[in-house]
Amino acid sequence: MIHLKQLSTQQLTCLVILTQVGVHVLSIPFNESRHSGHDAWMSILFGGVVAQAVIVIIYWLGKRHPNQSLPQYMGVVVGKPIGVLVNLLFAAYCAESCLLVTVSYTDVIERWLLVTTPWYVILGLSIAIAAYIASSPLRSIAVVTQSIMFMFLVCVVIVLTSGTGQGDYRHLLPIGTHGIGAIIRDSIPALWLYAGYELLLYVFPFVKSHRHKDIVIAMTIANGVTTLFYVVLSMLVTYKFSESQINTIAEPLVFILRQFNWPVVQSLDILFITIWLAVVAVTAYMYLFLSARYLAHIFRNEIRKHTMLVWLLGGICFIVGLWGEDREKVIRFTVYHNYATGIMVIIMPTLLLLISLMRGRGSVVR
């Protein structure tokens, strides 16, 4: 039969961009401007640079085991029992990311669009769609993601057209007054924005490329696009709102969209939040997929029932997500999840690489 498991580098780029961007877009640069104020865009830029460094680490790790994905060679790197534990941790982290993303966006929808619709209806349908997509093979997921890329571009156009307009560029000035320390301190929350590139840990062997270098180029393009998008977005927000305004507005993008006057569509924010759902869905289904894949490898033999695993995890996410209606809980959970992201996405690959390097050769290149 015809082999269809592979991804093109272009599909990889789409997957990474759309997994990286998610719910956060609405709140940029609220969390990133707590110390750095109107210099938040520099914190975000710095966050992108750190993400790039981690991408190189992950790529390095992947290159040492070019024919296997992380859950498969985990045992080789850290040994069997710890390997199972780490795989389980990754599975839990991915499921948690999926949960957080769906819950946060359900919250957004609940607050801005469907105020009276029951929480479980929106959450349930979103998770059902995410699980349906996540239960497909990787190629199908990549094709869906490529199509959603088009919606992402529509969103970018909406943001750019509504963001430029009346505002004051002097809000951005003077550059760098908050000091290097504040900027670096605020780049820590910025790091969470970029999570998503760690999917390379799993997909590395499935990417079809002439040289391994093409993979890192595709990843860099993806991360570059995301960084550019975030930086432009934070600059647009700073252009529109002064520092004291930013301090009180948690979701500035919605207000920017809402005040834009276009004769065809009255309130762009509704349109944007609707279309953006697709972009958020990519993050949700990609993490659900990854979670199922990591979970499949916790036993000695790979669990072959991918569909069942995905729906199982989706069901768990739904049940846990029912508690997400209480916003306070979500906010507390987010704080915890940010630490988890730091550990799983940044520290863990670095550790794995170090161990792998210390233990000498990687897998034999066939």
């Binding site: 769609i129 199908s140 869906v144 065809v264 569509v265």
Partner: protein, 479 residues
């Protein structure tokens, strides 16, 4: 069972094998000292051929063998009664010499077929006006005339335990992906069924996902269209008794192509192609979008438009969802009635549908004006899709979209889109993906748009051919 030396015994055996069927006939002739007996089904043979090319030569050439005497190209010698009986079914005449066991099977079939007509379901403005007909041999003749290369392979199959329907698959050997042919062969051979009705039976017996609304094979009645897909490295299935050819593996985009696209300026062709895809989206989602906007998010509409909508909906008691569903149902009923109604009374539909339903429903405040506009637009948009199968899929899809929009507004619409997208990208045919985004690399050139002929240098992506390059530079001259 072996044939007997005496004709009388053989006649009895044939009659037994054919269950004393009334149209089984024999006739005897004597030439010199030899006696011949002819066996045939009198409903299946051409009498003139038997008279001029079998009986007469046998009477004239008295002392040569049957084989030498009869000037018919198609002849088989056998001693097996089973084979001979099958030959009778095909309209052959069997000749036996008294005292010899050998049976001579001569091709004398009567061909009653309609002449080659113009295509009815796939009309084009420019280009060939030939359509396939029910006779497989004629269809193959048409195809061979269009593709005069030894590269064109025709393979016969017999499917149907009782009907023994002849099926042919066609492909171009140097272009096609061998894996697809092998897989197709495996599936065709393993079909075990009483009789086969093409193209519906074959489609359903070969589809991998049977719970999909989307057609996974392209049905066409145009030989030129079959040719263009064969040239892309696909396989065509022709069936005796059906004027439709099946083409596989096809992608989603093939259903929006029309031969007309290639006959006119490529800019126009591309525009029409995009228009068709856009209309597909309209056809599946416009009623849903309308319901979502009216019931959930009227804020999205500019104030003036919202006022217009409001004025048309002022006196309507039904919720928008019910309005949409009932109007769509009426449209479906009208559409089905138009197909089934005998043409002399077809006019009635126009009156009943157009005047009574269109006008009176609005005047009596049952359905709003705008809803009638939306539904009419949806209907017309679904007519624009060139493939009947795809257009039928587009008729059924609005209902889930309306349902989702009725629950979650625009969010529901978006979720429905995602679902359809995911479903499309999960479909496979013979291991070949059905859907891919027409945006990357060169794959846009014959999917979303129709690029100029000299740019169509590679074959369609989904046929996964080994021979990807169509031709290096079709326009040999340099500008």
């Amino acid at each position: 069972m072996k044939s007997d030396r005496t004709v009388a015994n053989n006649t009895l055996s044939f009659q037994k094998l054919l269950s004393n069927s009334s149209d089984f006939q024999t006739s005897d002739l004597t030439a010199g000292e030899r006696q011949y007996r002819l066996y045939y089904l009198d409903t299946m043979i051409e009498f003139a051929i038997v008279r001029d090319h079998i009986i007469q030569p046998l009477l004239v050439h008295k002392d040569v063998s049957v084989r030498q005497a009869v000037p018919i190209l198609h002849v088989i010698e056998t001693e097996l009664l089973a084979e001979a009986t099958m030959a009778l079914m095909e309209g052959k005449t069997i000749v036996q010499v008294e005292g010899e066991a050998t049976l001579y099977l001569f091709g004398t079939a009567m061909n009653k077929e309609r002449s080659i007509n113009i295509p009815v379901n796939e009309r084009v403005l420019r280009g060939s006006n030939e359509a396939l007909i029910e006779n497989l041999d004629t269809n193959l003749n048409l195809m061979r005339k269009l593709i005069a290369t030894p590269d064109l392979v025709v393979r016969y199959y017999r499917i149907g335990r009782r009907s023994n329907t002849k099926i042919a698959i066609l492909y171009l050997k140097s272009i096609v992906n061998e894996d697809i042919v092998k897989e197709l062969d495996r599936r065709l051979v393993s079909i075990d069924i009483d009789y086969i009705e093409a193209p519906g039976f074959i489609q359903e017996l070969m589809d991998e996902k049977s719970f999909s609304l989307f057609p996974q094979m392209l049905v066409t009645e145009r030989p030129d269209r079959v040719r263009s897909y064969l040239m892309d490295g696909k396989v065509a299935i022709l069936t005796n008794g059906s004027p439709d050819g099946l083409i596989l593996p096809v992608s989603f985009w093939a259903f929006f192509q029309s031969p007309d696209d290639y006959q006119i300026n490529w800019l126009l062709g591309s525009t029409f192609r995009i228009l068709r895809i856009f209309c597909f989206i309209i056809a599946i989602s416009l009623p849903g979008a309308y319901v979502a906007m009216v019931t959930f998010d009227p804020r999205i509409l500019p104030f003036e438009i919202a006022l217009t909508l409001q004025s048309s909906m002022q006196f309507i008691a039904m919720p928008a969802v019910l309005e949409a569903v009932s109007m769509l149902l009426i449209l479906e009923i009208l559409r089905e009635a138009t197909i089934r109604l005998p043409s002399p009374i077809g006019q009635t539909i126009g009156v009943v549908g157009g005047i009574v339903i269109g006008t009176v429903v609005v005047q009596s405040n049952l359905v709003s004006n705008t809803m009638v506009v939306v539904v009419a637009f949806t209907g017309i948009a679904s007519f624009i899709i060139p493939s009947y199968e795809m257009s039928s899929a587009a008729r059924l899809l609005p209902y889930p979209f309306i349902f989702m929009s009725a629950i979650l507004g625009l969010i529901g619409l978006e979720l429905a889109y995602l679902f359809v997208l995911a479903h499309l990208s999960r479909l496979h045919m013979m291991g070949v993906p059905y859907f891919y985004t027409g945006l990357n690399g060169g794959s846009m050139r014959d999917t979303l748009i129709r690029a100029p002929i000299w740019r169509l240098r590679t074959r369609a992506k989904e046929s996964l051919t080994n021979n990807k390059v169509r031709i290096r530079n079709p326009r040999g001259w340099e500008k």
